[in-house]
């Protein structure tokens, strides 16, 4: 998921879109630079980790510092931490904004309006889901006209925002929208805006998710930072492979399982099959969706990545999908069979059962190709057609895999 946090916002977006934000220094700043900044900022600053902390936020990981020695120590100290299980990319020092009021704002695409919406609350700094309905407002934004300052002022006024704050904050909210729509974001949040006693708003924390399908995101003008995300080598390789073409999906995420390697087709089938595997102890290694009628070379590459990374630890290979509407089964199965053959050529024989279930165009040729390959590889198999329900096949695969382990398989 293409997302960013406060630091890239401060570095690349805040100035570009005239969004008032605190001054900052990155972890590379030297002692004198920090000392000067602190004196400029009134002697108070915050050390923050740059981390993808998800919904739970990074509260508790923020340190207030008052001198440059402490600041430098905390910048180094924070770097080695994990926040909610996530590794910190870097740390930064940010100006402390004195405030008596905090405001929440978010723009996202909203299913109720079939378009973008703005959510505002004067109870900033909190998880918005915890805020009482009467204390937050969501209004639709015209996707063509955008957010007007008048609309923003009205929402703020409706929430009881002091008059002195409304004008400046509503202008900033319009800039906030401008950034959202100009960069192809899917959702973004400033939480909180800290309002100074003079009524000036500062965007004091930020996160956004970009819509990777939006061409504006592709022309963002800066490279997204690489967060030390908890992705595995397999996930990284698969994500790059998925991004390399839009012909057919190559979606996969590791589930930390160690039993069934599921090569699944179609978003719907993938989800229900994976859930069924979990339910019946199949302990799936990945969640995968390789549907969307991939051509041969695409499917071969996808299967190869899966096998190279994961087949070694799998106890059973499951190749399963519902009744495809347009994915060609002969092409996809030939590609998987070839990738499996290639794996055996390179790594030696496998002693893992293979369970297959599929329906769709050119099915019989696909199933026969798969059967012939499995026969030549000498692996046990059970192959189902579309008359066997996918969830029942998944249940069978899960139970089979467990039993296979218990009886010691082909050992």
């Amino acid at each position: 998921m293409a997302q960013i946090t406060e630091l890239p916002f401060l570095e690349h977006l805040a100035t570009r879109f005239n969004i008032p934000a605190p001054e900052y220094l990155t972890a590379e700043a030297g002692g004198s630079e920090i000392r000067n900044a602190l004196s400029r900022w009134g002697g108070r600053a915050l050390v923050k980790p740059d981390v993808l902390s998800g919904r739970r936020g990074k509260a508790g990981a923020i340190r207030e510092v008052r001198d440059h020695v402490e600041a430098q120590r905390e910048l180094k100290h924070e770097l080695g931490r994990e926040v909610n299980g996530n590794l910190v990319r870097t740390t930064y020092l940010v100006q402390y904004i004195p405030s008596e009021m905090e405001v929440y704002s978010a723009i996202t695409y909203d299913s109720r309006y079939m378009g973008p919406s703005l959510t505002v609350s004067l109870v900033g700094g909190m998880d918005i889901e915890e805020v009482a309905p009467e204390k937050k407002r969501t209004i639709p934004i015209d996707v063509y006209k955008g957010l007007g300052a008048y609309q923003a002022s009205e929402v703020l006024a409706d929430l009881g925002c002091p008059k002195g704050v409304v004008s400046l904050l509503s202008r900033s909210l319009v800039d906030f929208w401008d950034m959202f729509t100009s960069t192809g974001m899917r959702t973004c949040e400033v939480n909180p805006w800290r309002i100074t006693p003079e009524g000036k708003p500062y965007a004091c924390d930020f996160k956004a998710v970009f819509d990777e399908a939006n061409f504006k995101f592709k022309n963002l003008g800066f490279k997204l930072p690489e967060y030390p995300a908890n992705v595995t080598l397999f996930e990284e390789e698969m994500a790059a492979w998925n991004a390399s073409s839009h012909r057919g999906q190559a979606h996969a995420a590791e589930l930390q399982g160690s039993c069934v390697l599921p090569i699944l087709f179609g978003g719907g089938a993938s989800t229900i099959v994976t859930e069924t595997l979990m339910q019946f102890g199949g302990d799936p290694i990945i969640l995968s969706d390789f549907g969307g009628n991939p051509p041969y070379e695409r499917m071969y590459g996808t299967a190869k990545i899966c096998f190279d990374h994961l087949l070694g630890k799998a106890k059973l290979l499951l190749i399963l999908g519902g009744k495809a509407n347009n994915t060609l089964i002969d092409v996809t199965f030939k590609a998987i069979a070839d990738a499996l053959q290639n794996y055996v050529d390179e790594n030696g024989p496998i002693h893992k059962p293979v369970i297959v279930g599929r329906g769709g165009p050119r099915l019989t040729q696909g199933l026969l190709t798969m059967r012939d390959t499995l026969d030549s590889l000498g692996v046990p198999y059970v192959i189902f057609g579309p008359d066997s329900p996918v969830t029942q096949v998944a249940e069978y695969a899960a139970k089979f895999a467990k039993t296979w382990q218990e009886i010691g398989g082909a050992q």
Binding site: M114, E275, Q392
Partner: protein
């Protein structure tokens, strides 16, 4: 929303136009749809205009450059009222905008099939089409099917919609396109057919949401129940359930909500749960929502349901299922408790039915509940499998080969033939062996390589008068370079000269179809050649006599007979004799060559031939090629096409090499243009004719003379 009932989204008489119709997926799906229901009036694809998508047994689909042109060119009666958008994601906005601009008057619904459309574009489409009073289904929808009217848009129902969609009482509304098909086929086992199947798409914004579709289903008289497949994300179900409660929805619903376990892993399932929309977008929240509405626990297949008023009341609203294969049982429960009549007799219950099983000797270790036996493969698959199993040769998956090759590779260090290092091949030192490797990737036995070498030698020359040698000589005479002379020879090969071996392989494969031969070179094979020859000779005699009676041409047996070796009672091509002698010397046979000789004798016996025809060199080559690659064909390593081509290539390669000899000779000793035939030796087959003067020319001449 413009539609007032489900049929407004799709019905008989709809006229569908398809964007980017020449695209890979759009063209395949459109042709299938046209065969199924013939509702596509045209499509557009810039730069591809003027083409027609051919539809076997159906009306071809014309392609226009733009939707504007399509509207201009088609008569009023054929103006589209439904649009399928199959364009790439970056073109979707412009396509929809064009449709709105040019077809606002006629278009009622746009189905956007394209995946990966940005949410901003989706929102813009929603607004633009809302203002234009056009309904949108999608994006990322698979389309829709109207079972009673036998109409579909998109790929719902795959290449055979009738297999899953039989007219009945259930409307299927699904976030997953694939599940529309799957759930329809599951319902058949409960004796329930479908009214409609709709794939809503599962992007962040679903432009035809559940609430609207349920509302339309309420007004559809044939729909007596709705099945909904739901994924996490969005507040669509919350709004839908509010509507159900408010309207006291009169039809039962079976809801299947997926994604709960996976949400724990914070994995996106197509929908991105929007933070602002809150916890109600999650799968557990949606489950609770429906359970509360239904007022009954989710369906439990092990529970014995007592038919009570309370149960009937709950089932009138519906029930949630926790596993997809519970769908037929849950549907049957509703139907029985509410005393509704099934649409048709239930088919056999859903169960595991393996088509192929092989535990590779481990079956005994498995407990009985896991030990499955091969089931009955339903039609039409059983027939297809039988047919495919009998066919010889590999069936390959096609791919983009622009920068890919199986035949060769070079990692910058070692050039390889089918993975075998070229330098090792050089060290082994057999050109023919390496050549066969390069052509097939197969490694042959020594005697097979030897036989192939003899075939290549046989092809070198049959004297300077052969048309292939003449090609080289003509080229030399004209002053061409050596490679051009070889090309000239190759250009003189064709179906009649050189290509007969290719036809012989095809012929032999037809004759030997279904016959099991483990090794065609084993003299102890158990093929009853006598019977096979008799059968074939009788067949040929019949075809020949019928054709002669009708005065039409007929297919000859390829490679039997020779223009030179033809006058003895029993004729032989001496080059074929070398092959036969080598086989004898090695204590081998070639079952195909033996067949040919026996057939030549049989044809003489039947009076079809006046003497025993020779099996010519093309025939000998064909039998060696087929003998050598018989096993590869049976094991489906090679395609039939490749083996046929190799029969031709063996001759062509030998002859092109031989022609190089003719070129070298002719180039040294020949005179320039010596191959030219003097004009006096050429025979004119038409009388000389002067051009006649026209009456006007004659008049002009007369007047000039006057």
């Amino acid at each position: 929303m413009r539609a007032k009932k489900l049929s407004d989204l799709l019905r008989a008489g709809d006229r569908v136009a398809v964007s980017n119709i020449t695209g890979r997926e759009a063209s395949t799906v459109s042709v299938t749809s046209q065969k199924y229901c013939g509702n596509i009036i045209g499509g557009w694809a810039l730069g591809k205009e003027g083409q027609f998508l051919e539809v076997a047994g159906g009306e071809p689909i014309p392609v226009f450059p733009t939707v504007e042109e399509l509207i201009k060119k088609l008569p009023k009666k054929r103006q589209p009222n439904k649009i399928m958008v199959y364009s790439p994601p970056q073109a979707v906005y412009a396509e929809v905008k064009e449709v709105v601009e040019h077809c606002k008057e006629t278009v009622e619904t746009i189905f956007v099939v394209t995946e990966h459309v940005s949410v901003e574009v989706t929102a813009k489409i929603a607004q633009m089409c809302g203002q234009a009073h056009i309904d949108v289904v999608g994006c990322n929808s698979l389309g829709m099917i109207n079972t009673y009217d036998r109409m579909r848009v998109g790929a719902v129902g795959s290449d055979n919609p009738d297999e899953s969609f039989r007219p009945g009482s259930v409307a299927i509304i699904s976030n997953s396109g694939n599940m529309v098909n799957t759930m329809a086929s599951y319902l058949l086992s409960a004796g329930l057919g479908t009214t409609y199947g709709i794939s809503t798409g599962k992007d962040l914004l679903i432009l035809m949401p559940l609430k609207d579709l349920l509302d339309l289903a309420r007004k559809d008289e044939r729909t007596r129940m709705v099945v909904a497949y739901i994924e996490p994300g969005g507040l669509y179900e919350k709004e839908a359930v509010e509507m159900l409660v408010k309207t006291k929805y009169p039809k039962p619903i079976i809801a299947y909500i997926t994604g709960a376990i996976l949400e724990k892993f914070e994995l996106s399932l197509g929908h991105a749960g929007a933070v602002v929309e809150g916890k109600e977008t999650t799968a557990p929240a949606k489950m609770k929502l429906f359970d509360d509405y239904f007022g009954i626990e989710p369906f439990d297949p092990n529970k014995k349901y007592e038919k009570t008023d309370e149960l009937a009341q709950a089932l009138n609203r519906g029930i949630r299922i926790t596993s997809l294969h519970h769908l037929p049982e849950a549907a049957a429960l509703i139907w029985d408790v509410l005393e509704m009549e099934r649409d048709f007799k239930p088919s056999k219950p859903l169960t595991l039915n393996p088509w192929f099983v092989d535990y590779k000797g481990h079956g005994k270790q498995l407990p009985s509940n896991l030990l499955l036996h091969k089931g009955t493969i339903p039609e039409p698959y059983a027939s297809q499998i039988k047919q495919l199993s009998q066919a010889v040769g590999a069936s390959v998956a096609r791919r983009d080969m622009r920068n890919a090759s199986h035949a060769s590779s070079n990692d910058g260090i070692t050039p390889r033939l089918y993975g075998y290092p070229l330098d090792e091949e050089m060290k082994k030192g057999s050109f023919v062996e390496s050549l066969l490797l390069a052509w097939t990737g197969e490694q042959l036995r020594d005697f097979e390589v030897e036989l192939m070498e003899k075939c290549l030698i046989a092809g070198l020359s049959n004297g300077p008068g052969t048309i292939s040698a003449q090609g080289a000589k003509l080229s030399a005479s004209a002053g061409n370079a050596p490679n051009t002379a070889m090309i000239a020879t190759l250009a003189c090969l064709g179906q009649v000269h050189g290509g007969n071996g290719q036809q012989a392989v095809e012929y032999l494969l037809r004759v030997f179809q279904g016959i099991e031969i483990e090794d065609p070179y084993n003299p102890n094979h158990d093929v009853n050649l006598r019977e096979l020859v008799k059968k074939e000779a009788v067949r040929f005699a019949k075809v020949r006599s019928a054709a002669k009676e009708a005065g039409v041409d007929y297919d000859r047996i390829p490679c039997l007979g020779h223009p030179v070796f033809r006058n003895d009672p029993v004729n032989y091509d001496p080059r074929e004799r070398v092959i036969a002698a080598y086989l004898e010397e090695k204590g081998l046979c070639n079952v195909f060559l033996d067949f040919y000789h026996m057939l030549a004798h049989e044809l003489k016996e039947l009076g079809i031939a006046r003497n025993v025809w020779a099996v010519n060199v093309d025939g000998a080559i064909a039998t060696v090629v087929l003998g050598n690659f018989w096993r590869a064909l049976q094991e489906k390593h090679l395609t039939v096409r490749r083996v046929c081509d190799i029969a031709f290539l063996v001759f062509a390669l030998g002859r092109a090499a031989g022609a190089a000899g003719e070129y070298l000779d002719h180039n040294d000793y020949g005179l320039p243009m010596d191959m030219r035939i003097p004009a006096r030796d050429c025979i004119a087959l038409t009388r000389s004719r002067e051009r006649r003067r026209t009456p006007r020319e004659q008049a002009a001449e007369t007047s000039a003379a006057g």
